[in-house]
């Protein structure tokens, strides 16, 4: 499988979950900039990230450790983190 494709798919899904769970307006998974800073520019905080982490845990059966939240500041970083965790399980 093409790594870039896998990452693109994951970023799309993470963006979709973010939009649904956090009720983000004026953005779609297609227009969500994967490199936008979620804390500085979107206004997401630790409770929001924990909520998203729980939905992602359900979907991919991987944990996003609380200690890792600070470094997961973009959709791309979250997606790469998840793919690494999934790959480590296989």
């Amino acid at each position: 499988m093409d790594v870039a494709t896998e990452l693109d798919k994951m970023m799309h899904r993470v963006a979709e979950i973010m939009i649904n769970e956090l009720k983000l307006e004026d953005v779609t998974p297609e227009t969500f900039d994967p490199d936008i800073d979620l804390v500085d520019e979107v206004g997401i905080d630790s409770m929001d990230l924990a909520t998203v982490a729980l939905v992602l845990r359900d979907e991919y059966a991987v944990r996003i450790d609380e200690d890792d939240y600070p470094k997961l500041t973009t959709v791309r970083l979250i997606s790469e983190y998840l793919l690494k965790k999934i790959e480590a399980k296989v």
Partner: protein
């Protein structure tokens, strides 16, 4: 009111991490309703502010008169406070805690803060009424019955005067601080407050740095405190804003930091997200020091069981509590309590879990 219990009968879903799926944890309608209710307040971002270095009483073990902050000069110009509130709002703060030493002595500053920042709480000894136009929650400190208050706070008929000021005031929550020596008095105080239609929540004395006095808790006094809290919660459910899990979190032999990992800047070097990023504790000179920043500065972190600390520290640990139904329900009860104590207009719901549940990764005591 009768409590609803979680009745999950389906097999434990496998998330691959030995935990319930979150979607199953919130599948029951009453849990889902509570989750949806509390998550509406995830936007709260707090900071705290010392308003004046004056107080009308002097209490043994007072946090304010420990350390350096008591020596900061006062900024009494309301417009400087208005400017501060505006800049706080601009950096994302949505909730203010006005404390130290006695905020009721500077109502003109409280008014300005409230005009700029509508959500917040004031920590007061309750001896001077705060005008009703200031719509913050008002936390009135109680350290025992009137005999004890006179002895350790030097104020006569304290509870009676506090009640006279705040009877029937929806803003008011009486905060009873348990020390090893006033555990038995909590019943008398709660009975009086129940009779007067007031609300009470609980705090646990947490030693200031270097404090070696008799108010420091022991394992024995913590166990007694936990049982006293439960007794009062069961006897006065309409009066006591608390839950089983509140009692566990605040009377564990380990402090809050050891149990949950305190996320206030003083204990948390990260500035990327959460309290480590946004929280500040302003002194009366409107300066702040990251190294000292937490909700009750100069508390000994190893002994911290403060109700204000828990409100942020336990609440922030959503992920680790989303493991099984009773643990998650306990966390929801804790957050529900926190919101009822701190947010104007939020009413406490029935506790979802009415049994002892240990903090994740720890024993019950």
């Amino acid at each position: 009111m009768e409590a609803k219990h979680l009745t999950h009968s389906t097999p434990k879903p496998d998330t691959g991490a030995g935990e319930w799926k979150f979607s199953d944890l919130i599948a029951e309608p009453h849990v889902r309703e509570r989750w949806d209710r509390v998550r509406r307040y995830f936007f709260l971002r707090e900071s705290t502010y010392d308003m004046t270095n004056r107080c009308n009483i002097r209490c043994e073990g007072c946090y304010y008169y420990e350390g350096e902050k008591q020596h900061a000069h006062e900024v009494g110009d309301p417009e400087k406070w208005r400017s501060l509130m505006k800049s706080e709002k601009a950096r994302g703060i949505t909730y203010v805690v006005l404390a130290g030493a006695e905020p009721s002595l500077v109502p003109e500053l409280l008014t300005v803060c409230h005009e700029e920042m509508p959500l917040g709480a004031i920590a007061t000894n309750g001896l001077k009424w705060i005008p009703g136009s200031i719509g913050y929650k008002i936390h009135i400190s109680v350290w025992g019955n009137d005999d004890t208050s006179q002895r350790v706070r030097g104020a006569k008929q304290m509870l009676q005067r506090q009640i006279e000021n705040y009877r029937g005031d929806a803003r008011a929550v009486f905060v009873y601080t348990f020390t090893p020596h006033n555990i038995a008095e909590a019943d008398q105080v709660t009975r009086i407050l129940a009779r007067e239609g007031c609300k009470i929540t609980f705090n646990v004395f947490s030693s200031p740095v270097g404090y070696t006095g008799a108010l420091r808790h022991t394992e024995s006094s913590l166990r007694q405190t936990r049982q006293a809290m439960l007794n009062l919660l069961q006897r006065y459910p309409e009066t006591v804003l608390y839950s089983h899990y509140n009692a566990v979190a605040h009377t564990h032999h380990l402090g809050l930091h050891a149990l949950f990992g305190c996320s206030y800047p003083r204990c948390n070097p990260s500035t990327d997200i959460g309290l480590g990023r946004s929280f500040r504790q302003y002194r009366t000179d409107l300066n702040w020091d990251r190294d000292a920043a937490c909700c009750v500065p100069d508390t000994d972190c190893r002994d911290c069981r403060h109700y204000a600390a828990g409100s942020a520290v336990v609440t922030a640990r959503l992920f680790r509590h989303a493991s099984e139904p009773d643990v998650f329900a306990s966390w929801l009860d804790y957050v529900d309590t926190y919101l009822a104590v701190w947010v104007t207009g939020y009413d406490k719901g029935v506790n979802l879990c009415q049994r002892w549940v240990a903090p994740p990764g720890h024993d019950l005591f």
